[in-house]
Symmetry: C2
Subunit: 287 residues, 2 copies
């Protein structure tokens, strides 16, 4: 199976893709839209893209392109803990680091560590944590280090000089798997956590309490929401819409009941996917 992911190699998105799929051709794409387009043109069978709290790539980019440009079903999800490490060349023995390279978000996420350990090191921004690791690999003569993940350390045979240097202990990034159909896609079973259904709800107009009415349809059925996010519409269909994640798979009674009730209120409802979710174990890199 051909698996597209937001590249380059050694990013958190590659980590997510390899966490979900045992085997396959893992193909990096330069942007989220090009990765999703490759599913539409059948260049790849599935695409793995970040959807929440991403280091590389933007949540909004994924949701906007999915909703407005390339409507592909969500067929799976995975949460990857954000664990950043300080990577150096394996033969590097010194203590002094002149320069730290990484994606701007990754550098910002290790703000406290850098202030405490390397207050005088210069920073240089790279396009991704993977690109930073590659840069360190290609410059063994320099006293530099990259902030990147374990996959990047393996990919570029770098040594982890410090592990888990990120400021927030429980930070994670969520990724979704997009595909034309879920048939023939199988995941590693070990890290399965729950089934989830994602809905997009468009409100008829921006009036007080509209969202409250919509949530009533979930609340009295005791359907638990794990995420709700409002986004401005870009198409003139309404003022804003909501992305709502519901615990549980699509069924014959409860979720169809919610959908007809919300539609009766004058809202638009689209089911973006009903799919299994996985969680990657934390602290893999405590070496």
């Amino acid at each position: 199976m051909k698996i597209g992911f937001l590249g380059p190699k050694g990013t958190f998105t590659e980590m997510a893709a390899r966490g979900l799929f045992e085997t396959g051709d893992f193909i990096p794409f330069r942007t989220i839209p090009s990765c999703m387009d490759a599913v539409a043109t059948e260049e790849v069978q599935v695409a793995v893209v970040p959807v929440e709290n991403a280091i590389e790539g933007s949540v909004n980019m994924t949701l906007d392109y999915l909703i407005h440009k390339q409507r592909l079903p969500i067929i799976g999800g995975i949460t990857v803990p954000i664990e950043q490490h300080l990577l150096v060349n394996p033969d590097y023995q010194g203590e002094k680091i002149d320069k730290i390279v990484s994606h701007p978000h990754a550098i910002a996420q290790c703000h406290e560590f850098l202030q405490a350990y390397y207050p005088n090191a210069e920073w240089e921004y790279m396009n991704s944590t993977g690109a930073a690791a590659e840069y360190v690999k290609n410059h063994p003569d320099l006293a530099i280090a990259a902030i990147a993940n374990e996959t990047a350390a393996q990919e570029y045979q770098l040594k982890m000089a410090h592990t888990n240097i990120h400021d927030f202990e429980n930070n994670g990034t969520s990724f979704v798997v997009l595909s034309k159909e879920s048939v023939g896609v199988s995941y590693k079973g070990s890290a399965y956590t729950e089934d989830k259904t994602t809905l997009m709800v468009t409100l008829p107009s921006d009036y007080s309490g509209a969202l409250h009415q919509v949530l009533s349809a979930f609340a009295w059925r005791k359907l638990n929401l794990t995420k709700i996010e409002s986004r401005p519409t870009k198409t003139g269909l309404g003022n804003y819409f909501f992305i709502i994640d519901v615990e549980g798979a699509m069924d014959d009674v409860l979720i169809p009941g919610v959908v007809s009730e919300i539609e009766a209120l004058g809202c638009g409802v689209d089911i973006l996917g009903s799919y299994p979710c996985y969680t990657m174990a934390r602290n893999k890199a405590n070496v």
Copy 2:
């Protein structure tokens, strides 16, 4: 007044800062945390950082750092339309562009334009749209173009070869102004749109319908919500919290009423700010 913003020069954040303040020292910072820290240490009086749908910098970074690390009041907001242009050196006369440079998100946002006009041009990623414009300025010998905004065009004296090349017409980025106090901060009055109050609500536990109960407190008072977003907590205080934007300024009756009612449900409530919001006019760059 010293105004810190997420740099470098020529970014959308600088555009937001200059849209809000008539005069002042505009000081670029390398990361969102360092920009916010500079307010705490009084190096600058206010910080302007992106909070939603940003090109450079991440929404989550701003909210997370604000909530968990550096709790500064929000004292103002501005929405800037995302208008991307293709910038070339002023003496460039050719038709052929070998390479397009910009931030990965900006390149992704102009996906359709690039496919239609420059399908064969190479892309090179830069740390920001501002950095891309600077790169074009410094390489007048190359057949290259940057995707960036009007501020960057002015900053680096570049020519707009194509204007408004972004795929989505109504895309915008929201920024907030953070400061220890709002006294002595005055905005340009022209683009004022509304007052807004931002609340952070922590739910006691992840049970069905908890959010529905919280929203009831707003709904029966006919308080209109303009944004709601769920975020995972990182501190172990609860499973998740919500950032809620309410139309209208803090008053003596309605919002305090909401707060006591939500607290009676066992939730935690923090008021992150009550502040005037501004909107920058669209299509300034239709030249």
